[in-house]
């Protein structure tokens, strides 16, 4: 079994339901994100269009984060998920340096690495990842890539020619696909990004006690 994700960017409307569901399910601390939806405006006014791209760990089959981790805190599960053992992590941040997708962060509360695990704990109980459940338009398609009759395999077959992964040149073999994406959505260097014009960029870590 090789679990994978596919996001149909034609369907995504940028509601951020997946982002919030992930935050709640995994208790992701303020200022850090396992999954987020990036908004990019394309074109020049008045001919502009807004695109939405959910970004999460790709659970690469050839994962640089797993390779560089000195203590195997990042490890493969049998279903292909790249999981993290936060008790074993020493917080060296090697994985942060290695992941070409910026999918890993150091959790400010536990001081260990963290990232999307495809909700491995839910999958172990035969539930879907929380972001899949939350998406109102079913833009997130999740399933077994080894099974040709799974929804995700059929979706990939039906959209041959329009299925892409992020940064294929890195040789990471991502288990996360996009349909309907372009360079702008999948290549971070294809859009300009001015600090100071983003929401959330002034957020700092709240004190653990909860008072200011």
């Amino acid at each position: 079994m090789q679990l994978g994700f596919l996001v149909d960017l034609h369907l995504c409307m940028g509601c951020k339901g997946c982002e919030i569901a992930c935050k709640v399910e995994n208790e992701v601390p303020l200022s850090t994100w396992r999954l987020r939806v990036k908004y990019i405006d394309v074109g020049t006014f008045p001919e502009t269009k807004r695109t939405f791209t959910p970004l999460r760990c790709n659970h690469c089959a050839n994962a640089p984060c797993e390779r560089i981790c000195p203590v195997s805190a990042l490890h493969y599960l049998e279903n292909g998920i790249v999981n993290i053992d936060k008790e074993r992590c020493i917080g060296c941040a090697g994985c942060v340096m290695a992941c070409p997708y910026g999918a890993i962060y150091i959790d400010p509360q536990t001081q260990t690495a963290d990232k999307c695990t495809y909700c491995a704990h839910r999958i172990a109980s035969s539930m879907m990842p929380s972001c899949v459940v939350a998406c109102p338009v079913e833009a997130n398609i999740f399933g077994d890539l080894d099974n040709p009759t799974s929804n995700i395999s059929k979706y990939i077959q039906q959209h041959q020619g329009d299925v892409q992964v992020r940064k294929p040149e890195k040789g990471t073999d991502p288990h996360h696909f996009y349909v309907g994406g372009g360079n702008v959505q999948l290549n971070p260097l294809a859009s300009s990004r001015d600090e100071g014009h983003n929401l959330f960029n002034k957020l700092t870590h709240l004190p653990l006690g909860g008072h200011h």
């Binding site: 970004l55 560089i68 000195p70 060296c92 090697g94 260097l189």
Partner: protein
Amino acid sequence: MAHEMIAATNAIVVLDVALPGIVWGWIITMNMWAKSIGTGIVFLTFFLLKKYPEKTGFIRFPAVAISIVFIHIFLFFTVIDLHQMFRFWHIFFYPHLTSAITIGAWMATGFVGLLLAMAYAIYMQKDEALYDKYLGWTVLLAIPVTLYTAGLMAESTARELWQMPTESAQMILAALLAGSATMILLGGNKFDNAVKKDLGLVLGLSAFAAFILYMSEYIFGAMKAEEVAATLAFIKGGEYTILFWIGQMMAFIIPMVLVCMSITKERYYLLKIAAVSALVGLWISKHVWLVIPQLLNMS
């Protein structure tokens, strides 16, 4: 970069999380810098004891003492950079052998053991032959200890600027530069002119070779990948430009000029200025090269 080319593809991120900050900062710079001195002085001790056994015997103890001090500075900064430093022992009990960090930690541990054996041989036993025997093994182990950081940078798939084999060459050159500079300061006027000249040559040539590598990447790196071009933009008019050139001047250009002047005019006191400049400049150069790829947004 497509967003800058035509109006129709002008693309601007309007809502996203903040750019990530620098994760490996000055503590890792200290780590690399101290390690260069700690292993470099071993290379130079081996060279001098082989070439000038009669004239340089007095360096045995101070050289190993300096190496022990700087390798422990390197280990100290390695450990304090961990977000969970009290779990450092996991590297030895749950080792993952594909990781350069694991290999480096093991090699460095063996290296420290040999350095301590050398110190014991020369300080407690006063046994130069035993010291020299250990030295051969220590030099061998100093090579992977010097190189493992380059392996780590190569494994950092997200940082396109850090290429192999360039980083390996830079690590060895940094060790030779730092080792010769430290030896020049250590030996002072106790070395005769032939030894000083050789140390000056090692310093000057390693500075020259490292400078060529930096300039090659500076000029041609951007032609291979847009990520490298975007990274190099931080030192081509970007916020790290001045610091980059201060580093290049102090680490490589000034030492090269001073070494030439000292050798051609036999003014060997200039070597000490070159050595101090090289050591300070090496820290700055390493720091800039460490930090700039981390300023790039990866998603």
